[in-house]
């Protein structure tokens, strides 16, 4: 047995009953902290007629009101400026400002103290250790080091493990590839979109085969791609590296990870987070595997601006099986499957952009980029799918397969538009490939 397999061998292999006991007590602690230190949380719970003393069992947790992102937007820019009254510590304790990317609306501000920032790095340490990062690794981080959390905490997590971290901030893609080559970096982290984009630039603009570079592992975040088998395969094939999935969020923390065993899913770090899955229609908490729902999450140790029963909108489902790695932390099957506000009904059928991505990326003659546009033609919903043909690939060689696979995997028909390779937009961070224009009508 590898005696250094786990970052925390006590927590990661804890029997589930004991783990649940730990989660419950930690939940009560953070709930009490929020109730006694945050005006916002106290008002929320008082309105619901509930205090922390009313929570006697795990089953009671669902009585605690959820927090929506819109609520966090409403309180910010008020006192204590600019965070508002969910802040649980004096302003002078706040040592870092970050904000969400604003993909789904106005950004939410997030204060972190020294302790919270170290907690972020601690959560990332679980992730990176499980993916085989060790002190001998030279980790290249090709992201903008800006106001968004993105891979900031990954940087500090990697440092905590003793890795040598190369901050590839203000460099363009070609300069980043040259720096990876020069320094023989062994690992990197980025969104799936950017990992594919970098491989494309290396191969087609620089004449460098990414497989010949020294990258042996890649950690993805920010999009579901590394959990989508065909996208993961494209990345692994392009780089000759193992690609691991991870999910986190500015207002939550780094809550899940795919381990080295690549179980087609991610572990929830249940020592640091409590994840509940809520039925999209009824709101009932789903315990059993195989049923998709919306994640409601609590960061059990985040103190400055607590995250207690946050409605994340991420769609996930429990895996029926434990992981072969020996961790007792539950797996979510296939990672984050999408967002509840992206999964929409078209012609009465549920449409998941991730399912379309899986089909597009599984067809060899198609490029990595695509775009989905849903609109109305008269009263009828219409889905337009824009795809790129790779050079020297003809539409007729793959059209039937694409149409059949889309129908098979999504039960819907598409108006498919074919574009020359390189003509659809490229993205460096999070891609916006799904547009529902019906919402504007």
């Amino acid at each position: 047995m590898n005696h250094q397999k786990y970052w925390n061998p006590v927590l990661e292999t804890m029997p589930r009953e004991k783990l649940k006991q730990l989660q419950f007590k930690k939940f009560k602690r953070i709930l009490t902290w929020a109730y006694t230190h945050s005006i916002f949380h106290k008002a929320l719970y008082d309105t619901a007629g509930l205090t922390p003393d009313d929570i006697h069992s795990f089953d009671d947790i669902k009585r605690v009101p959820k927090v929506e992102k819109s609520m966090m937007r409403d309180i910010q820019k008020k006192d204590p400026y600019p965070y508002g009254d969910a802040l649980c510590v004096p302003l002078e304790e706040v040592s870092a400002f970050r904000q969400t990317s604003g993909t789904t609306g106005q950004p939410v501000y997030q204060p972190d103290t020294w302790q919270d920032w170290d907690w972020w790095a601690e959560c990332w340490s679980f992730i990176l250790w499980s993916q085989g990062y060790r002190a001998r690794d030279r980790v290249f981080l090709p992201f903008g080091y800006n106001i968004f959390v993105a891979f900031w905490a990954a940087h500090y997590g990697a440092e905590k493990l003793g890795c040598e971290v190369v901050p590839g901030g203000v460099l363009d893609t070609q300069a980043r590839i040259l720096k990876i080559q020069e320094l023989t970096a062994t690992a990197m982290m980025a969104t799936p979109t950017y990992i594919l984009n970098m491989a494309d630039v290396a191969k087609n603009k620089m004449g460098i085969d990414p497989r010949e570079l020294s990258i042996s592992k890649i950690t993805c975040a920010g999009e579901p791609g590394a959990g989508i088998p065909s996208t993961k395969k494209r990345m692994e094939d392009a780089w000759g590296a193992r690609v691991y999935d991870h999910s986190g969020a500015t207002e939550i923390g780094a809550w899940s990870y795919e381990c080295e065993d690549q179980p087609h899913g991610m572990h929830v770090n249940e020592a640091m987070f409590l994840v509940e899955i809520e039925d999209l229609d009824t709101g009932e908490i789903i315990e059993e595997p195989g049923r998709r729902g919306k994640m409601v999450i609590t960061a059990l140790d985040r103190m400055a601006q607590p995250c207690v029963r946050f409605d994340s909108k991420d769609v996930i489902e429990w895996d029926a099986n434990p992981c072969t790695c020996g961790r007792t932390f539950r797996l979510i099957k296939g990672g984050v499957l999408g967002r509840s506000d992206d999964i929409t009904k078209v012609k009465g059928v549920l449409l998941s952009p991730a399912a379309i991505e899986e089909v597009v990326r599984s067809i060899d003659g198609l490029g990595d980029e695509f775009e989905i546009v849903v609109d109305k033609q008269g009263d009828v919903d219409r889905i337009k799918l824009k795809v790129e043909l790779l050079p020297e690939v003809t539409r007729s060689s793959l059209e039937n397969v694409l149409v059949d696979q889309l129908r098979l995997k999504t039960n819907l028909r598409y108006q498919i538009e074919y574009y020359d390779y390189g003509s659809l937009p490229r993205y460096e961070v999070k891609a916006k490939r799904f547009k529902d224009l019906r919402k504007k009508h």
């Binding site: 925390n8 006590v10 927590l11 004991k18 006991q21 007590k25 930690k26 601690e122």
Partner: protein, 62 residues
């Protein structure tokens, strides 16, 4: 998989270090380098508490 670490003994050591650091921090009222570095070290102790002490405090049959 059950592990065989003596987390009570580890926790005792964590608490001792914490106590010393709290003392150092309190002695730093006019000595910022002492106060701030002690406070910073206490953050690391907090991570040890999340990793180990919480297990001792919050699971009854250990």
């Amino acid at each position: 998989m059950e592990t065989s670490y003596d987390i009570h003994a580890i926790n005792d050591k964590i608490l001792k270090v914490k106590e010393l650091l709290l003392e150092l921090e309190s002695e730093g009222e006019t000595f910022p380098a002492l106060a701030r570095n002690s406070k910073r070290a206490l953050v690391c102790i907090k991570m040890l508490e999340f990793n180990i002490s919480d297990v001792v405090s919050f699971t009854t049959d250990d």
